[in-house]
Symmetry: C2
């Protein structure tokens, strides 16, 4: 592709609560900004507002830590109730250290704390934690359906989360869910400039888009939980973000 | 920031050879595209053309593999001359498997094959391999100086490479060198929407920009080895890409 991309922040979305219709909130926001969606547009939505709309907020005083959680919490210097939630949301602890628990979560995503977060949550009703959506690819598909139905456009949706990485400092946006986006842009089998067959060139388009979008979204009090990415041609890809997961048998860093 | 970002591909840069002045080539390309640089613009340039301009192409028939390289080549099913170059460019082998050598290179970057590449190279004069620039942050600083001198604008420069990652499929663009770009956008100490102190929110801006730019750059015969990222305010940051490296003592995946 030789088209320019634009990454447009979508500020002004109100605080999201359980049961809110994210599609409507996004369309209201776009109307307010006088932005009209066109075919190929990709909406990137922060995991936090998806989780909130799906009621994934947990009251910590309702969480009873298991003995395993209590032990791991002592080892890592964390709140046993948070550790209990991390373990419930995970299938394996990959690494642990003071202040750090890295797991494979039940979705297969490897990262810190199973994506459980305590920031940007109204703790008026006692301490809370926010879990990832039950099935972020499904969440993205539902949101895409809703947006497409209302606009008649061919769209993509990505649900982004900020992730730490091995070896490098600073988080990157990552696609934890998606619909209507070519996730793995496979250029293998093509030829390079001099006709040599390209060996391993699969670009993770969904993660790259999420990384770009998080640049304008911000995580602090800026209240920009979504971005509009424009410039890709419409894509009827059936790929989903889950296909980004490297099979454990092929992973050298577990 | 609430401004939109644009990611503009810069096609039409001719094939680069040792000694070429990348600054001039980029300015010619921008003039051809009728793009005028403004304060805050960030130029993202593919590592390959930086390496080529710096004469980092090595003739494989001039490489004599050491016994260590011969053994590792047999173990990983690779060309012993390429393995010799990988070892010369590295300080530690982190993982090895058939077809895979992951090292810490002499710059501290962890990745496959020390970034050595055989694609998009004119092999007319026999088989060649292309090494990373000697010092990509320095390369970025020189290119930035040249571009700023010619335009009078306050600019940033990122040198990007496509990297594989632990746990996830598909490559992402990554900043292996930079100048004039806030690499680690430290939002710690800020307050979230509800006044809770933000604990760990440092976004890697340089890597995020590189990931975005590679979306429009392409790696195959598309000849788009650079992109223009617009929308950030001018930045007098003295940070460089090398600061993205996580200290080995804090890394759980070595």
């Amino acid at each position: 592709m030789h088209a320019a991309l634009t990454i447009q922040p979508l500020p002004g979305i109100p605080l999201v609560s359980s049961g809110d219709d994210l599609g409507s909130l996004l369309l209201d926001c776009l109307a307010e900004l006088r932005l009209e969606l066109v075919d190929g547009d990709i909406l990137v939505v922060a995991q936090k507002i998806v989780s909130k709309s799906e009621g994934r907020l947990v009251q910590l005083d309702e969480v009873t830590p298991s003995p395993e959680a209590v032990a791991l919490a002592a080892e890592t210097d964390k709140d046993p109730r948070i550790v209990e939630l991390i373990l419930r949301e995970s299938t394996a602890v990959i690494r642990k250290a003071p202040g750090v628990i890295i797991v494979r979560n039940r979705l297969g995503i490897i990262g810190a704390n199973a994506g459980i977060d305590q920031s940007n949550i109204d703790h008026g009703a006692g301490e809370c934690a926010l879990l990832l959506p039950e099935d972020p690819d499904q969440s993205a598909a539902r949101l895409r359906d809703s947006l497409q139905q209302h606009t008649g456009r061919s769209l993509g949706v990505i649900i982004s989360d900020s992730m730490n990485r091995a070896w490098r400092l600073g988080t990157l946006g990552q696609a934890i869910g998606s619909s209507g986006v070519r996730v793995l842009d496979d250029r293998r089998g093509g030829r390079d400039l001099f006709g040599r067959e390209l060996m391993v060139t699969i670009i993770n388009r969904a993660d790259s888009i999420a990384a770009a979008a998080v640049l304008v979204m911000g995580e602090t009090a800026e209240q920009v939980p979504a971005a509009l990415v424009r410039g890709f041609p419409p894509d009827d890809s059936r790929q989903v973000a889950r296909q980004s997961l490297r099979p454990a048998s092929e992973d050298l860093f577990l």
